[in-house]
């Protein structure tokens, strides 16, 4: 018996398992009110999945609106497509545009790390394709539990293997990211995947169905039973009595199918054969049809029988909710349909025409000749529930903030400072990540100008001019826990700085906001503070948020993760030939410290590693100083004044110096006296403090005068703190004069040890 619209109208009393599908009583009542009858099973499936937190942003919407409100004209200058589409688009000039977005795939990656992470990459790449862009790079921001926990040895190699497998097979260079360990992520790792795409202005496409009579076409992989219950929880046995099957909740990725889909889509775009396009991700066909129709202000009629199935036993509800990967939906003019089908045939991409765009404002879906969905698409896709969830400042925060790391003992003797430096550099969060990044292809496409371990990844966009973009992602959950407003701004500042040190100028932001349960008022407060901090920060820096993603319910039992707003900043550079790496390549350069150092050890890596301490207030945020620093770095890079530039963040000055040395195996001699005197700090503070708006630059001697003049002119505090050299080969060392020396061989051994343990089993 098909639960058609007519059947629903005549059986109002029939009980529906809406609660099992995640809908609240009032939400179900609202659906009944909207339809003027009970929903059919298919309609219930659509509403439940589209009104889930994941798809509707019902808890976050009221706060996210700040990103649209806190924008000035200067931030709109480059913004071609803002939030709300699959990904934001920024103008690069010369007819070029760039699109980028970061998105979470946290929960699937805990259940099934390999496929969870792989399909996370696949999903974000399809967002990029659906803007009309060629994907050109990926990055990943990862958070795991304790580095030595047995389950981390399951999750990490699986996640890294999944990212490696999918992105390498897609032919996308992985140009950077972060890996961070903390027990708060033990049962809830964070896998945030970012993709970058480039396009010519005329290739821009939107997810919008307009033009009555235009065909609705589904192409790519066949629809199967995977991923049902990914976006909301569907227990199929309780949904339909006859269906006792269990479906896998994590999708399975096929990067080969997606690679072919990319090339096929780009050929379709360039031939002008697509009026509107939407990728199929969470909520599958439910989402694609309702969003296309809602965005276009049109209607749509779809015959669900036309969907090509991998499993013919799927019910219509399951077809609507399936999250099978590597599928796209296009709106195609009838006179272009044959040409469209010729292109998909050339790429051997299976294609079916599901229906057409109508002008009546209704989304009508039929199955076996009966109408099973008849809804206003905007009620599904746009006008979902909006919650003003209660929030309040956690009572425990005052005590936490009062517990400053400033009270912890700080060593003065060289031997102790040396031991603590090595402990920091050998800690999991500061360790060499090449055990992970060497599993990623960084060369494919031939445009990678910078990649991990440099501070930002950089990609050439235009081979003739050298025009390029740089991207960095950052977040520090420890700062977020101490002060979510400041924590979000510090993540923004660090990503901004990481882009600036490469010589690029930041122009846009994407964010992936990872938090605990929104039903917990303390978590909701953290979220509200972080969003406000990020929106205020972007306004001050003059760079817009172009899109992103919210991930709630990241917690183990009742314990939420630290607030982890991962911020991705994208910058542009006129010519990637002027890029600046994060380490020195030559002996004899002068090393300068830009910015000032304060006693700011609260939430620092030093406090965590040396004292197992988390308390106090995170470093002060000074976005004006970040901006001054960023502009100076861009100007200096443009004039070729830097052989290297490296931002100071986790682990402070000692981490920056060590990484600067290890990048190319060139040592350094450093003195701290001038810093101690000018800033009134002790040696431990100078080495380990995480004050913001700082960077180390390596300046060739012949550029010294020009450089110091540049700093004076721009009022950026600067001190010469050393020179690069430290001997050759096994003699090379990082020497902090009067305190200690670290031979680079010893440093490298310590630095690579923490992640060397992870080995991905070939069998998967």
């Amino acid at each position: 018996m098909i639960d058609s619209v007519a059947h629903a109208a005549s059986t109002p009393e029939r009980e529906l398992p809406y609660a099992a599908l995640g809908l609240k009583d009032d939400e179900f009542a609202r659906i009944r009110e909207l339809l003027g009858r009970r929903p059919t099973g298919a309609e219930l499936a659509m509403y439940s999945v589209m009104w889930s937190e994941h798809c509707s942003y019902k808890s976050s919407k009221v706060h996210l609106r700040q990103f649209g409100r806190k924008v000035d004209d200067r931030m709109r200058e480059r913004l071609m497509v803002g939030m709300g589409e699959n990904a934001g688009v920024l103008d690069l000039g010369d007819g070029w545009a760039v699109t980028f977005k970061i998105e979470s795939h946290n929960h699937p990656s805990y259940v099934e790390p390999f496929q969870g992470a792989a399909t996370g990459v696949g999903g974000i790449v399809r967002d990029i394709i659906s803007m009309g862009a060629r994907p050109v790079a990926v990055m990943d921001a990862l958070r795991f539990g304790a580095v030595d926990h047995p389950d981390t040895a399951r999750v990490l190699p699986g996640v890294v293997g999944g990212i490696s497998f999918y992105a390498n097979c897609l032919g996308l260079p992985n140009i950077g990211g972060e890996t961070w360990f903390d027990p708060v992520y033990q049962a809830n790792p964070l896998v945030n995947a970012l993709a970058v795409g480039v396009l010519r202005h005329e290739d821009l496409h939107l997810a919008s169905a307009t033009g009555a009579g235009n065909r609705v076409v589904l192409f790519g992989a066949r629809t199967g039973g995977d991923g049902i219950g990914g976006a909301s929880i569907l227990a199929s046995e309780s949904f339909e009595e006859n269906s006792g099957r269990k479906r896998p909740s994590v999708q399975v990725g096929d990067p080969f199918a997606e690679k072919v889909l990319i090339e096929c889509c780009l050929e379709l775009f360039h031939a002008g054969l697509v009026e509107g396009i939407q990728d199929l991700g969470a909520a599958g066909i439910s989402c694609a049809t309702s969003e296309l129709a809602a965005n276009g202000g049109s209607g749509m009629r779809v015959e669900l029988d036309a969907v090509l199935l991998r499993d013919p036993s799927l019910t219509p509800e399951e077809i609507l909710m399936s999250e099978s990967q590597e599928r796209m939906m296009a709106v195609v003019a009838p006179d272009k349909l044959d040409a469209f089908l010729a292109v998909t045939a050339k790429w051997e991409v299976e294609t079916s025409v599901l229906g057409e765009v109508t002008g009546d404002g209704r989304l009508v879906i039929t199955w076996r000749g009966e109408t099973i969905v008849d809804v206003d698409p905007s009620t599904v896709a746009v006008d979902g529930p909006v919650y003003e969830r209660p929030f309040h400042r956690p009572a425990w925060l005052d005590a936490l903030q009062a517990d400053t790391a400033g009270r912890l003992p700080r060593p003065a003797a060289g031997a102790e400072l040396r031991a603590q430096s090595l402990a920091l550099l050998g800690s999991a969060n500061l360790a060499d990540a090449s055990r992970i990044t060497s599993q990623y292809d960084r060369y494919v496409l031939g445009n990678t100008a910078l990649s991990s371990p440099d501070d930002a990844g950089m990609i050439r966009v235009d081979e003739s001019s050298g025009l390029g973009v740089a991207v960095a992602t950052d977040a520090n959950g420890r700062y977020g826990q101490l002060d979510p407003y400041a924590g979000a701004q510090l993540a923004l500042a660090e990503a901004y700085r990481n882009v600036a040190v490469t010589g690029a100028t930041p122009i846009g932001v994407s964010d992936c906001l990872n938090f605990g349960s929104p039903e917990n008022p303390e978590v909701m407060w953290q979220f509200e503070r972080a969003v406000t901090g990020l929106a205020d920060g972007c306004l001050e820096l003059g760079i817009p948020v172009t899109g992103g993603n919210v991930s709630f319910y990241n917690q183990t039992g009742d314990v939420p993760i630290h607030p982890t707003p991962v911020v991705a900043v994208l910058g542009m550079i006129d010519d990637v030939a002027r890029r600046v790496p994060s380490g020195w390549q030559d002996a004899g350069d002068n090393l300068y410290l830009l910015g000032t150092t304060r006693l700011e050890l609260d939430g620092s890596a030093w406090a965590g590693v040396v004292h197992d301490h988390l308390g106090g207030r995170p470093p002060a945020v000074d976005l004006a100083a970040e901006k001054d620093l960023g502009e100076l770095l861009a100007a200096g890079a443009h004039e070729g004044l830097f052989n290297a530039a490296h931002d100071l963040s986790d682990g402070g000055l000692i981490a920056a110096l060590a990484e600067g040395c290890l990048r190319f195996g060139v040592g350094a001699r450093v003195w701290l006296d001038d810093v101690l005197e000018r800033d009134g700090v002790d040696a431990a503070t100078a080495l380990f403090s995480e004050s913001g708006a700082r960077a180390v630059v390596a300046v060739p001697r012949e550029e010294d005068v020009k450089f110091t003049r540049l700093c004076e002119g721009r009022g950026v505090p600067v001190l010469r703190i050393g020179v690069t050299d430290g001997g050759a080969g096994s003699e090379a060392a990082l020497e902090v004069q009067g305190l200690f020396a670290l031979p680079l061989d010893e440093l490298r051994a310590v630095h690579t040890a923490p992640l060397a343990r992870f080995h991905h089993d070939a069998a998967h």
Binding site: P255, F256, K259, Q439, D441, Y443, V444, A449, E463
Partner: protein, 233 residues
Amino acid sequence: MTRVGVVTFPGSLDDRDAQRAVRIAGGEPVALWHGEHDLHGVDAIVLPGGFSYGDYLRCGAIAARSPIMAEIIDAAHAGMPVLGICNGFQVLVEAHLLPGGLIRNDHGDFVCRDQRLRVENAGTAWTSRFEPGQEITIPLKNGEGGYIATDDELDRLEGEGLVAFRYLDVNPNGSLRDIAGLTNARGNVVGLMPHPEHAVEPGFGPDTPAAMSSGVDGLEFFRSALESVLARA
């Protein structure tokens, strides 16, 4: 201008990079499509890296049986220079233009690194501009690059000088006898796991002692082929 065909299979990834390398070396790249039987009058051919047909059966196995490969096998037997890079090397092996097999890296992981190699045979169409024994650095990136063959076959390959490249410093994938690449006896068909097309342009190649990303050792592969085509003409 010498025309060098670069084949695109479904799942080819480094095809546009190979085209760029041909262009930088001074040749004219010509895109060839896996489903056609037409070589478009090219003078040499590159089978690029990637995961042709998803590498779902054995790496390169399906591509080796594609329509275009029938033509390429004939052309190779007639002496046309053919270079197989990474997945292209796997295709050449699956097409029996080169002997042996390539299996999953011994450590199980995909690996991407700047790889030092020794040019063992500088007499092929793709290596003539190198000195015998010259040490070069080009990027390597593969998951299934472990070269295998029987002991007898390995002895024969070494005895006949058919080992074109050997890994130096690190054997990145467990290849027997550190074999990174092979040539056929005639010297026109060469296959290797590392990627010369990613070491052709300053700023985008491997690091060298002189400067980051400045390695262009791969350019000589393509220049060698262009010279060899001219010499044949």
